[in-house]
Amino acid sequence: MNAPSSLAERAAQATPAPLARRVRGLSDRAIAWLFIAPTIVLLLAINIFPLIWTVRLSFTNFRANRPNAEVLGVGIDHYVNILTDPDIWGPMQATAHFLFWTITLQTLIGFGLAWLIDRKFRGHGFWTTVILIPMMLSPAVVGNFWAFLYQPQIGLFNYAVSFFTGIAPSSFEMLGSVKLAPWAIVVVDTWMWTPYVMLICLAGLRSIPDYIYEAAEVDRASPWRQFWSITLPMVLPFVMLAILFRGIENFKMFDLVNLLTNGGPGSTTEVVSITLKREAFEKWRTGYSSALAIILFVAVFGLANIYVKALNAVKNR
């Protein structure tokens, strides 16, 4: 008998006879099902089922803290109440403000940093690591840390502003002022997550082959022209991907806002995730909060889909 030549033949010979007999009777499709089944079961159990259960709860008056109360179907009442409640637009506006400014600043600064780091100057590896540090910290640490920095009497941030502007440090409160608090959380999120955008942009910049720039040089294209005609178009899909990731992440932002302002002062920085948490786990309006969660899910899912289509269009250009 010849020695087995392929890996498949060797594997077949190494398979114990009883197992081989059992597997031999299965079709390719059945084996595919066999391999994929654990993943499908997990996906159904921890993703699909809770989602469906949430949809179901959103049509009831269920409250998790009242196990003995009768659960009644309320139709689409929760959806109607949420969409007609004037108070819900406050959190929506706070979320929109936070999203718009964090993404704008992170994209601009992140791209700028990536462009500088890509120059490959002396020590650029060290500076890349330094820039990445905020992203590696836990949001809980960053939240507490910045809450101290913003403290009007002992906080370094206020002292730094005072040093440069001459304004008394205790004369303004970053987290306590209605005007400044929304910007305070934007600053912290930008500080923490700009490195992430930078990293993705850097990957984009490094993926541009040098010969394209060399060809442009031969054609006497100016650096500005090279930037607009080569760098930006080729790195744009990466930038858009970074925007997508940060957009989804910041739409559900909870930890930093919770630690820095807890939605305050008043409800100034109450983003939708804080509202959702209050409705679900403080007021225990499980049915109502399920409806709110579904509305947010549909909004994010819909917007993300439109965005991904745009991203693909840019990539295929």
Binding site: F59, N65, E70, G73, G176, P265, K283
Partner: protein, 463 residues
Amino acid sequence: MRSLLTKVPALSALALVAALVGCGKKEEPAAPAAASAAAPPAATTAAGKTITLCWAAWDPANALVELSKDFTAQTKVNMKFEFVPWPNFADRMLNELNSKGKLCDLIIGDSQWIGGSAESGHYVKLNEFFDKEGIKITDFAPATVTGYAEWPKGTPNYWALPAMGDALGWTYRKDWFAKPELQAEFKKKYKHDLAAPKTWTEFKQVAEFFSGRQIDGKKVYGTYLFTERGSEGITMGVSNVLHPFGFKYQDPNKPYAMDGFVNGPDAVKALEFYKSLYKCCTPPGLTNSYMGEGLDAFKSGQVAMMMNWFAFFPGLYKDPNVGGDKIGFFVNPSDKGKGSQLGGQGISVVSYSPNRAEALSYIKWFASPEVQKKWWALGGYSCHKAVLQDPGFKASAPFAAEFLDAMDQVVDFWAEPSYAQLLLAEQKRIHDFVVADKGSAKEALDGLVADWKKVFKEDGKLK
């Protein structure tokens, strides 16, 4: 494989349809919890067993650990403690109860939880146990029985034993008040002595007098007030002003009728007053501050007067820097009337506990007058009349007399099963007005009435 991928959404859709079909129907209510009827306690306890007591992590909890050593010595039942920091206490413990967890055999839960915990079957009803063991609830201060043990309020249905009496009170820098130059300046300006204020008018004078002043080379402020937004802080703080000014939760003759009581002229005036105090006389940056931040501000010599719970005063009095003779205590000032926000908790047996007999034996032991006396001596606030009516009680601690006065005028927040919704609505409305300068006091309180009406309508208590 493609057909496999098309089957997953199909399966999901099937499950979605099944779920939706189910929700149109009325579901069978869950079986009544074991706790809703008083289960007779087991006659004997098992020596060597361990029971867990859950409470907030604060000074009195340490005193309880010390006290409970006597229980273990007497019964051979070991005690384990689960103490959760205040900011997470309600979330953690209510999640535990709602999930029918077995972590806690005994729980010292907040007074507002009584309604929900009784109706949801989380707590064991203690009436039969009290009768059987000869524990007289009348041995405890009436305000604490109403506040910590009864549900529905005003009915003889007991779900807890009053464990830790507490109310919002005040501490002040007696050493600053005693400075002759400040005494003279204050008297010249306000025509009366600089002393612990008895009315809110006096309070504001003192607060304004100290604000911005340099004392011992440091800029100080008049007062510390609760402003915390997330849990209950600003509601507790503002209640101390609302009630003396004439605010009431509802028409005393018509339950849940709130118009004119919650948002009447007295309440509006009180809320404006609280905001004026916050604006004129509190240190900058305290826009979301509760008990801990207050203690920090006071201990670091930033404020002349601090609002806080009596429970912290024994520890504060022992503080090497600001304690002892440097500080004094006073009961919440009055205006049209009197009122202090009730704090404190009762101790309950968790109905899901597998160690109910041992937990009940702890309650029996804790209810005895001797244990209650030691509880007070260790730094816990006993609610037992044997302690409170003792002739030597007022002199037993520098804040004891003020504590007694406060307990005579306590008012508590709603203890309804929906208390959390009611509380968060007030947190939002008050914080929006006081800290975020949103709208007027009248608008804030009108909004609060609307929010509360919505909750009571959902609960079927208002039409």
